[in-house]
Every structure is written in structure tokens, then in C-alpha cells.
């Protein structure tokens, strides 16, 4: 592990101006100490969290490694708190003696209570680095706070599978659309699956079979229905299927979409044996009798392909699991990118809700 060097400032009953001045001073001191200390200037991130869970959130953010926002502002909320306390940490990645540059990352934890919420934006605004994009994350709900701070943010990070009710999750995304770019961790969990379906049908001779898909089955963690809906919504939106609401069959959701040439049977199956959130596997079948099945496996996705003559081939597509911290890190990185296929997928997924 690379050596780390932290500079810390803290104060009780402080003000945003004092916090901002402390940040500036600590950065000047670090740079004066060694000019290889350079502040990262990529992204602001504002996290609004319940104070009781601050440690858990800190652990999650610690796992994102190099995808740590350059300035992270954590509002630790405790309803009855009267006083505004703050702690600023300037952490260095790497050793300035041995590396070309040692990036400095800033974390500001501000402890607030109900009395600060009405004017929260006036506390947050002086703390973000001007001209850097700002990502807003509220992992414990508090949607009213998201609304309050949205003016400061260009992107909102959320995880649609956190919502127990799929419709509410997708409604929420749609409600934010147009006001901020939404980075949805549930969507990012579908990335390897989307990449693999796209690749499987990429050879020109197979591309035309995208128009002849007859069955799509998606197996998912019971709490990750939204992730399966998003994957189905992505396929439907990219392939221009007309969709109707799915129907519940026990724990499964089943329905039909209408492609240019034929109907497509969609089945979203809960996979109780899956231990982590997300998708377990999928099967895509075409009218020619071709099928592609992908499942999670050791060292990558386990693929099983059947060609129209009935020949079956099985193999592993190598790839490492990103883990939940990897997904969160990817979410932070994605705040600087734009995926034009997400909102169409959400729109279709919402229309397929039972």
C-alpha cells in the first residue's frame, strides 16, 4: 500500500467560510511542504448521510480507491443537532518523495441537524470547488434534501435496487431526468451483460438475428428486479420493441414485447440462491433456434451457446467481478460521462412494470 499523509483540521460550532478557509490553508501548507503534492481537480461529491451510518458510508467510499472524488463533502445528519461541527482531511495518495505527483484528496465532514436543513445549500455552496462537476448522493433517502441541493449538482448518484418498490425507483429516476444526469448503480451492474449480448450478436452474420429474438429470460437476485427490468428495457429500447406491462407469475414477471418480425417472450426470474445484488444470468433465443445463455461463474461469465443445428458450445468469458465497492467507484467515474441509452431503457422498463 502506498504511504499516506493526512492533514487534518476540525472545529466545533464553525461556519462554511471557516471550513473553506481551512481547506485553502491546508492545501497551501501541503503544497509548500512539497510541491509534488497536487490537489486532484476532477469532481466534487456531496453525500448526505444519516450520522449513525457515517462509518459505513466512509467504509464504502474508502473502497473506491482511485475513483475517490477530488473533494468529498459529507453532510452527517442528526436531527437534534444544534451546532455545526466540521472536520477537514487532506489525504495524500502516494509518496511525494518517490512519485512524480502525490495527489491530494479532500474530505469535509460537516455535522448538521434539522435547524441547518432549510439553508443547506448556503452551507454546501462555499465548499464545492467552482467549475468542477458535482455529484450528489443520498444513500439513506432524504429526497427532499436531494431536491434542495440539486441546484448545485450536475449528476445524481443513486441505486435503483435500494428502493423496495420498483415503480418508485423508476419514477424517481424519471423525476430527476432533465434536471441532472442520473448515475444508477443498478444500471452499472448490467454493463457486463449488455457488453456481452452486444458482442455475441456483433458478427455481421449474427447481427440480423437481433430482429428475430423470440425469448429473453433474465435471472436476478430477488431484490434486484429493477436491474432485470433495466436490462430488458435496454434490449427493448435498442431493438425498438413495443412493450406492454409484465404480469406476475409467482416470483417471476412474464410478458410479451412486439418486435418488427415477431413477438418476444420476456421472463424475469428471481434467483433466491444469488447472494449478491444484481443479475445471475440470462438467456436469449432467436427464431432460428440459436440461443445464448450467460451465467455468473468463477473467473468470468459462463457462456453456453446453441446454434440452429443444435450444436452446443460452452466456455468461460474471462472477467473479474468488480464487487460493490468497484460498482460504487464506477458510479463516481460515470458522473463525468454520459450514457445515452439509460433513459430510454428506464422509460421502457417503467412501461413494462406490472
Amino acid at each position: 500500500m502506498s504511504p499516506r499523509s493526512d492533514a487534518v483540521w476540525s472545529a466545533q460550532g464553525t461556519t462554511p467560510d471557516a471550513i473553506e478557509a481551512a481547506l485553502r490553508q491546508l492545501l497551501i501548507e501541503r503544497h509548500a511542504e512539497n510541491d509534488r503534492f497536487m490537489p486532484a481537480r476532477v469532481l466534487n461529491m456531496i453525500a448526505f448521510v444519516d450520522r449513525a451510518w457515517t462509518g459505513e458510508i466512509a467504509n464504502r467510499l474508502r473502497g473506491v480507491g482511485r475513483y475517490h472524488a477530488s473533494r468529498l463533502i459529507v453532510f452527517a445528519y442528526e436531527p437534534r443537532r444544534e451546532r455545526l461541527d466540521a472536520r477537514v482531511t487532506i489525504a495524500s495518495e502516494g509518496d511525494p518523495e518517490s512519485e512524480a505527483i502525490a495527489l491530494l484528496r479532500e474530505t469535509v465532514v460537516v455535522e448538521i441537524g434539522d435547524r441547518h436543513l432549510d439553508d443547506l445549500i448556503t452551507i454546501a455552496d462555499p465548499l464545492v470547488v467552482t467549475d468542477l462537476p458535482t455529484l450528489l448522493w443520498s444513500p439513506h433517502g432524504h429526497y427532499d434534501i436531494v431536491e434542495e441541493l440539486l441546484e448545485l449538482a450536475q449528476a445524481v448518484l443513486l441505486d435503483s435496487v435500494d428502493e423496495p418498490i420498483a415503480r418508485e425507483a423508476l419514477d424517481r429516476v424519471c423525476g430527476l431526468t432533465g434536471r441532472a444526469y442520473v448515475v444508477d448503480l443498478a444500471w452499472l451492474r448490467t454493463t457486463p451483460w449488455r457488453e456481452r449480448i452486444a458482442a455475441a450478436f456483433d458478427p455481421p452474420r449474427l447481427r440480423r438475428e437481433l430482429n428475430t429474438i423470440t425469448n429473453v429470460t433474465i435471472r436476478h437476485h430477488p431484490e434486484s428486479t429493477v436491474a432485470a427490468m433495466l436490462l430488458a428495457g435496454w434490449l427493448a429500447s435498442r431493438l425498438r420493441w413495443r412493450t406492454s406491462p409484465l404480469v406476475a407469475h409467482g416470483v417471476d414477471l412474464v410478458g410479451k414485447a412486439h418486435g418488427a418480425r415477431q413477438d418476444v417472450t420476456l421472463r424475469l426470474q428471481g434467483a433466491p440462491e444469488l447472494l449478491v445484488r444484481g443479475l445471475e444470468g440470462l438467456t436469449v433465443e432467436t427464431a432460428s433456434g440459436r440461443s445464448l445463455q450467460l451465467d455468473r461463474g468463477a473467473g468470468g461469465l459462463r457462456a453456453r451457446a446453441r446454434d440452429p443445428r443444435g450444436n452446443v458450445h460452452e466456455w468461460t468469458i474471462p472477467g473479474a467481478s468488480r464487487g460493490e465497492s468497484g460498482i460504487l467507484g464506477e458510479g463516481i467515474r460515470q458522473a463525468l460521462l454520459r450514457d445515452p441509452t439509460y433513459i430510454p431503457a428506464v422509460t421502457v422498463a417503467r412501461a413494462m412494470l406490472p
Binding site: 505527483i101 449480448i197 413495443r242 468463477a298 468469458i317 441509452t341 422509460t347
Partner: protein, 516 residues
């Protein structure tokens, strides 16, 4: 209620509608064959690159690897060697499950590269892989061997009918050096293109795979502010430096045959010059980008024997100090002949004779055992036409200088004149700096990861075209020949220094080398 789904873009409609929005584009199922599979390049670069692609899920859906090398060994032993090389040289600690999945489809074929039976066995193996996969597989032959084997392997591939496939793409990836003279480069092109079509050939210059070099295109063509002054009216000179602080280490055998000019200037540094001087391409397709680079190279006049002493300098490092240690001179390095006249330092002054650049000197210099490791491009602007301030008591007003640093700290710095705080109007130069490392979250992939993927995808943008290689040699070959015909000993510079004082001789009056 039925809903009409989102409309794919027209571009996506023409191709695969599922790739829209994906950061990683699909790569067709491929078998990669590495000739020279047990060599240094394969172990240190290619195998770790393949592992990292596998780790990121960026290899083709179906991927097979065949190693070909002289040493006799079983498939299993080769897989164990691959695993060892990956564990040792990968930029990340390998995930053992991913490594196992990658190595499942690895085979090894022993034999010399001119042996017919090797290609018969290779053909059989490629067919077996296709049967196993149940579909045709693209083939990529990576020539990671000594250069004299390149034509041998290519011709054997042709003779064995492995250079073409009725239902899949076949590509050949050729490492540098692509010839050591213009004649050799032409002859190699002739022999390669007798078997393969140019669209099948991917000549590696790993510099082009570096993010930093690609960033130069973004820097120039994604920012409107530079274009107005990017020409002879405002730019006074351009200096391109690739300095190394290390010596030749254990590469005496290679280096003494190559020298600094062939090792870095003929390929990498001329590529950098092209990136500085090229016109904006119509689009970023392989052909358009390479057309523009070739135009730049063709605009550089071929040096005549009379000009060469005025525009080219070579030297060798002598004993000196580096990193606080005494270090030997080049001639004392292990494996170097005591009478060697191979240059470890080369500097050139080139002109780009076109409308944009006529009269602007482009200085290129490279060397081993210099004061510091740095690769940079310094663009010096012309001085302001009139100075209203007194220069008394200050460092003076200096022309603006834009420095693009490629390594070690990739970034851009702009030298500006600023007033020294105080009651008098005294100016001194200050630097406005931007470092890429402070502004991006992602880690740059290794150059070979990008290049292997691009070659498997058939995207030749970052590879050198046949006419480009020959155009590079057209510039360097006269210098190589003149130097070869000029007896030594060469001028010396102390190890750890700024280079030979003779380098000053090629500078235009009033110009100076930047401190390394």
C-alpha cells in the same frame, strides 16, 4: 399501455444497435498467435496486457492464444510460464480465477520459424479452435521476434495458406524495428505486402498506444484556442526531447546495432513531430489520420550529405555520475565493443516545408544517461513586437512557451510574463501548469492493451502505414549513411549531464536547448 421504445441513432442503425453507449466496443472472436512467445516482449508486455484485458472483460467473446517459439515444451509448461510472467509483470495483481479462465485456451507450438511443420501444426491448431468454438475465428499473428524473422514468418504463413481465411479476418502485427535502413524497410514492406494486403498489416510503434500521445490530438484538435497561433506566424521553434537517465542496461546487443537515431528518432520522435505539425484530419479514421501524418513527413526535406553536419549531431556518453553514483561510459558498458561508434545521443534540426511551418525549426534530441528522464514538446512563440516595460532589474520578458510533457508528469505548462509584486513594473516569467493526473479518475491502460485490442478489432489508426515507415526512413536514412561513413571517435558527454556541447552547433542563432 404499449410504449414506443427509444429510437436508435442513424449511426447505430447501420451497425449493431446494441453497441451505442458502451465504452468498450466488441472485438470479434479471435485466435492470437505470438511468434517469439517465450521472449522478453511476450513475457513483460504482451501476456500481462492480455491478462489485464481479460480482467476487464475486454477480450473477444471467444479468445484463444497460441505461443510459438523454438524451445521444446508442453502446453502445460507454457501455461505455467504465462502465469508466472503475468504474476510478475502485470500492472495489477491477477485474480487467480480470471487467470485460470484465460489460460484454459492457451496452446504452445515448438519449432523454428522457418520450419514447415510448425505452420502445419499451427494450421491444425487454428482449425481445432474453430471447431471447438463452432464458428470462424479471426486470426492475429503477432511477430514478437528478432526483426530478421519477420519476412521469414510472413512468407511461411503465406506458403501454408494461413494468411487468408474465407470467413474471417487475418491480421499480422509487426513489432519495431521495421527495417534498419530505407532499403530494408522497403524490402520488408515488399515481402510483407506480397503475402498480406496493407489493411491486414499492423506495424507497432508502441508510443502511439500511449494515452499521452493520443492526448496530443485532443489537445490540438479539441481546443480552439491553440489553432490561431499554431503556425509560422506565431511559433518561433519547436523542441522535441526524449531524454533518459538510464544507460543501455542489459540491451548492449540490440542497442549497439541500433543507436539513438534508429531507436527513438526514426519512429517515436518523428511520430511526435507529426502530431505537432499535422493538419486536422477530416475524421479520426485510420486512413485520414495517417494521410495527414504522411503529408508532414513528406514535407520534411531529405537531408543532403552537405547539410548533415549542420543539422545532425551524435555523441556517446562517457563516465559520469547518475543518481549520486559513479556510472561507466558507454564504451565501458558490458557487451559494448571498445571501439563502438554507436551514438547514444542524437539531435537533429528539421524543417517542415509547407505553408503552415516554413522557416520554423523543429529540434529533435534524444539520449541515454542524460540528467533526467523526460519526454516533452516545447513550442516557443515569437517574442512580442514591442516591449513597453523596462527589463532592468528583472529576468526580463521571455517569449511564451507551451510545453507538452509526455512523461514523467503528463501535462501542459504555459510560460507567461507576470508582474513581480511591488511598486515597479518588473516582469518575470511564471508557469501556468496543468497535470493530467490531477484531472482524471481513470488509470491509463498500458499501450499494449490498447494496441492489441485495436489490432484485433482491425482499427489501424494507432499503427504505422507502409508509406509512413518509408517516409520516416527517407528522412533518417541519409543521416544513418553519413554517420556510418564517418569514422569515430564520437564526441563525448559526461553521464548525467545535459548532453554534448556539440548539440549547440545545430541551433539557429539565438536558440537554446531547454534544460533537461
Amino acid at each position: 399501455m404499449a410504449v414506443a421504445a427509444g429510437q436508435p441513432t442513424p449511426k447505430a442503425e447501420a451497425g449493431n444497435p446494441l453497441v451505442e453507449g458502451l465504452e468498450r466496443l466488441p472485438v470479434a472472436p479471435t485466435t492470437l498467435v505470438i511468434f517469439g512467445a517465450t521472449g522478453d516482449l511476450a513475457r513483460r508486455k504482451l501476456l500481462p496486457a492480455l491478462y489485464n484485458l481479460a480482467h476487464d472483460g475486454a477480450l473477444p467473446e471467444r479468445f484463444y492464444l497460441v505461443g510459438v517459439s523454438r524451445k521444446e515444451k508442453a502446453h502445460e509448461d507454457y501455461r505455467a510460464e504465462c502465469a508466472e510472467a503475468i504474476r510478475r509483470f502485470s500492472r495489477r495483481k491477477p485474480d487467480e480465477e480470471v487467470l485460470k479462465a484465460l489460460l484454459e485456451n492457451v496452446r504452445y507450438i515448438p519449432g523454428t520459424f522457418d520450419e514447415e511443420s510448425v505452420y502445419a501444426e499451427l494450421g491444425k491448431t487454428l482449425d481445432e479452435f474453430e471447431q471447438e468454438a463452432g464458428e470462424p475465428l479471426n486470426r492475429a499473428f503477432y511477430l514478437a521476434t528478432a526483426p530478421h524473422f519477420f519476412p521469414v514468418i510472413v512468407e511461411e504463413l503465406g506458403r501454408s495458406k494461413l494468411a487468408h481465411h474465407a470467413h474471417a479476418e487475418v491480421r499480422v502485427i509487426i513489432e519495431k524495428p521495421f527495417g534498419t535502413t530505407l532499403e530494408e524497410a522497403r524490402e520488408l514492406n515488399r515481402r510483407v505486402l506480397a503475402i498480406f494486403d496493407e489493411t491486414q498489416v499492423f506495424r507497432i510503434d508502441h508510443y502511439l498506444g500511449k494515452e499521452t500521445v493520443q492526448n496530443m490530438m485532443a489537445f490540438r484538435f479539441a481546443n480552439g484556442m491553440f489553432e490561431p497561433f499554431w503556425n509560422r506566424n506565431y511559433i518561433d521553434s519547436v523542441q522535441i526531447t526524449a531524454a533518459e537517465d538510464i544507460g543501455i542496461e542489459s540491451r548492449a546487443d540490440y542497442y549497439d546495432k541500433a543507436g539513438a537515431l534508429r531507436d527513438l528518432i526514426q519512429n517515436h520522435m518523428l511520430q511526435l513531430l507529426c502530431h505537432v505539425a499535422m493538419e486536422p484530419p477530416v475524421s479520426f479514421t485510420a486512413e485520414e489520420v495517417r494521410n495527414e501524418k504522411v503529408k508532414v513527413l513528406k514535407s520534411v526535406p531529405e537531408p543532403t550529405p552537405v547539410e548533415i553536419p549542420q543539422i545532425a549531431v551524435r555523441a556517446q556518453y562517457g563516465p559520469g555520475h547518475a543518481g549520486g553514483e559513479d556510472v561507466p561510459g558507454y564504451l565501458e558498458e558490458e557487451g559494448v565493443p571498445p571501439d563502438s561508434t554507436t551514438e547514444t545521443y542524437a539531435a537533429l534540426r528539421l524543417e517542415v516545408d509547407n505553408w503552415r511551418w516554413a522557416g520554423v525549426p523543429f529540434y529533435l534530441r534524444t539520449g541515454k544517461r542524460l540528467a533526467r528522464k523526460v519526454t516533452e514538446i516545447a513550442v516557443t512563440l515569437k517574442p512580442v513586437p514591442h516591449l513597453a516595460f523596462s527589463q532592468e532589474g528583472s529576468l526580463g520578458v521571455q517569449p511564451n512557451q507551451l510545453v507538452l510533457t509526455l512523461q514523467p508528469n503528463e501535462g501542459v505548462s504555459l510560460r507567461l510574463g507576470a508582474k513581480i509584486p511591488g511598486t515597479r513594473m518588473i516582469i518575470r516569467p511564471v508557469n501556468m501548469e496543468f497535470l493530467y493526473g490531477t484531472a482524471f479518475l481513470s488509470q491509463s491502460p498500458e499501450a499494449y492493451e490498447r494496441l492489441i485490442t485495436d489490432a484485433m478489432r482491425g482499427d489501424a489508426t494507432l499503427f504505422t502505414r507502409n508509406d509512413e515507415v518509408e517516409a520516416q526512413w527517407r528522412i533518417c536514412d541519409p543521416i544513418v549513411r553519413t554517420w556510418a561513413g564517418t569514422p569515430g571517435p564520437l564526441p563525448k558527454y559526461p553521464a548525467g549531464s545535459q548532453g554534448p556541447k556539440e548539440a549547440e552547433l545545430i541551433l539557429r542563432e539565438g536558440d537554446h536547448w531547454r534544460a533537461i
